[in-house]
Symmetry: C2
């Protein structure tokens, strides 16, 4: 019995799925939903440079730059600060896979959809799960957090800083200290805050955080920044079991991103070109200026929405400057209105997710999209287009 | 005790990692290593289009196009045929995570580095592992495979079609039938074969396969095509336990890529723009023409290398048309020579990996890089530059 790889089995090729397409011709949209946001034009240019090898000395230098600038964006000294080669959800899973061993007690704060996702993921990694909740549109109190730590003695507390499904910013003062007292790691979702919402990771004593490329950083989706402090790294080194996820195992990844440069997987080099440019722009602007800009433009949006009689879902003191949830006026078909804006004006806003499906629109002003001009454009569109949908609702 | 997300904690921002960089200015390289390969210019253009929302009707249409053309590239009717939002290694892990439950018997064929990676991954998912091996540079015989199936009665047989570390193409005739007889799924690594090496998935009765974007498809790295046939889908539906990996769980992903369009994670839209263009080019060329082109240009390379007295590591009948392993002449510092080519001429070739480290160079001719001009350019460079390194070795 002999086998040959050259045998002529190939005469008949199926043409069934051979499409004959024109080159891509997607339109330019203004993405004012929950993400992705528009990428900065120079980020798109960087993205389209010819690839380098993932072990090319010039690429290794670029990796160092990306790591350094991510530390700046997060205000952290963490050695392990890298973009995971997947979207924000991959980085989310990476923080969990690397910090939890099966059977360990974990407390997850759920104030919206992405807290629920943390619960789902922690369950898959065998956590002894304890959930603390707040209604969608509110945040957890420090008391509730303290009580859960006292009661469940978790190894990890996972919270969402910026809940993309509700538009709530979870206050964090005091939480880091509590976690240290209880010898517990603090894991934080910063998907909708990195680069846009005031956040100083080391000052807040956060041990693990993750984010995405396509919101505050103005890069297309595809990379998931992750950072891991010394306490989390030490727990990783002490693990009894292998990280049950090869692709996201930081014990392997840190050799490639560190000084060894040991091959792990072929890096998404072009996405990293884009991220390098996005972070360069952030360094140019200054993080505190980026935070202030997001705040200023959101306040302009909030005032304009309220002037049109629209109701904001989140109280002022908890509102994210990146993502605003607006109550859909009674009787208005929120989804139809969103599609109308997209198809007629090329402007995307988001619908509600989970418990808020059908109840709110989600308006994002993130990264390069956070400008007074975009705020005014959207407010004008709402003023122009919403009355017809409201009358239809009234007539129905 | 009250918390405020607006408290003025932000006066002091650390400037420690605020780099002041010039815009990116990476050079153009000719990537003739094991990957990434150069991307086609129109793919790079597509990559840099302004993002669309991941639920935009136009993006959903593009997803359908990508799925259809992947079916063409793999010659399969599989319903679940998608690009995973990570690199080829993520797609590799996805096939395992979705097909294996802890404790199940799995046979892995190891003929090089990527077979070893399959073993590592299967171990993390709790497989009852059985390894069959061939020396690095050879392939497994059908007898060895048959015997392992008989002996270990596995639920999954995992093989590498194109072993990127050795340049061997594993013959597959008869393997699919054996797997059906033994009620076992056939899982195949096609990272270095998709779009370039003759491969008809359904005809070979392959149940699960994965690949990457940056080799035969001429797209930058960052996406991992995956396909899953009805037998694998049925096993997934019958699982006792959740897939222990949220990001790669096809039960969730198939709803987003299928008719439901349920949100799973924010898709890497720009990378998918690039992949759509890469697949469009493949449809334009015709898969059988792409296969023939890769074969023709490799034969030209092999003849030229042998004419220079260089020895090829793999016997002709097992040689991949995408990746050629060349024995490094005795005494020559292979790594130094590679760096010399890169720095002086901007041409990248790869070094050996694992058991072949220091013993071979790996020369890739994949996707858009597989041209007679590139073959001749490399052969001329070797003729020009290698003698100096050989004399140095002789003198030492």
């Amino acid at each position: 019995m002999t086998l040959s790889s050259l045998s002529p089995v190939l005469e008949t090729v199926s043409e069934a799925h051979r499409l004959r397409l024109d080159p891509i011709s997607t339109p330019e949209r203004l993405l004012l939903g929950p993400g992705p946001s528009n990428a900065h034009p120079t980020v798109l240019q960087a993205l389209s440079r010819p690839p380098l090898g993932h072990l090319d000395p010039l690429y290794l230098e670029l990796m160092n730059e990306v790591q350094e600038m991510l530390r700046y964006a997060w205000q952290t000294e963490n050695r392990i600060t890298i973009p995971v080669s997947g979207t924000g959800s991959a980085a989310m899973e990476a923080t969990i896979a690397n910090s939890i061993e099966a059977g360990e007690s974990v407390v997850v704060g759920v104030i919206g959809y992405f807290g629920q996702r943390l619960v789902d993921m922690c369950g898959r990694y065998g956590a002894d799960l304890h959930v603390i909740e707040a209604p969608w549109g509110e945040a957890l109190s420090l008391e509730a957090i303290a009580q859960a730590l006292e009661q469940h003695k978790p190894k990890v507390l996972a919270l969402v800083h910026a809940e993309t499904s509700t538009g709530v910013c979870q206050p964090l003062e005091g939480v880091g200290d509590l976690c240290r007292e209880h010898n517990c790691l603090l894991l934080l979702d910063t998907v909708t805050s990195l680069g846009a919402v005031p956040l100083k990771l080391d000052e807040l004593k956060v041990d693990l955080a993750y984010s995405c490329s396509q919101k505050g950083l103005s890069c297309p989706p595809g990379l998931g920044p992750l950072t891991m402090g010394p306490r989390a790294e030490e727990k990783l080194d002490r693990r009894q079991s292998k990280v049950p996820n090869w692709y996201l195992d930081m014990s392997g990844l840190k050799s490639y991103w560190g000084t060894d440069r040991t091959y792990h997987h072929t890096a998404p080099v072009n996405m990293n070109f884009g991220l390098r440019e996005a972070l360069r722009l952030l360094c140019e602007e200054g993080i505190e200026n980026a935070w202030a800009r997001h705040r200023r433009n959101s306040e302009r949006l909030w005032a304009g929405l309220e002037a049109q009689g629209l109701e904001l879902h989140v109280p002022l003191e908890l509102r994210l400057p990146t993502l605003t949830t607006v109550r859909i006026p009674e009787g208005v078909d929120g989804r139809a209105f969103g599609l109308h804006l997209l198809n007629k004006h090329g402007v995307e806003i988001g619908g509600g997710l989970g418990a808020l499906a059908g109840q709110v629109w989600r308006i994002g002003l993130m990264g390069t999209n956070s400008t007074p001009a975009n705020v005014d454009l959207l407010l004008n569109l709402l003023e122009l287009e919403l009355p017809a949908f409201r009358s239809a609702a009234a007539a129905a």
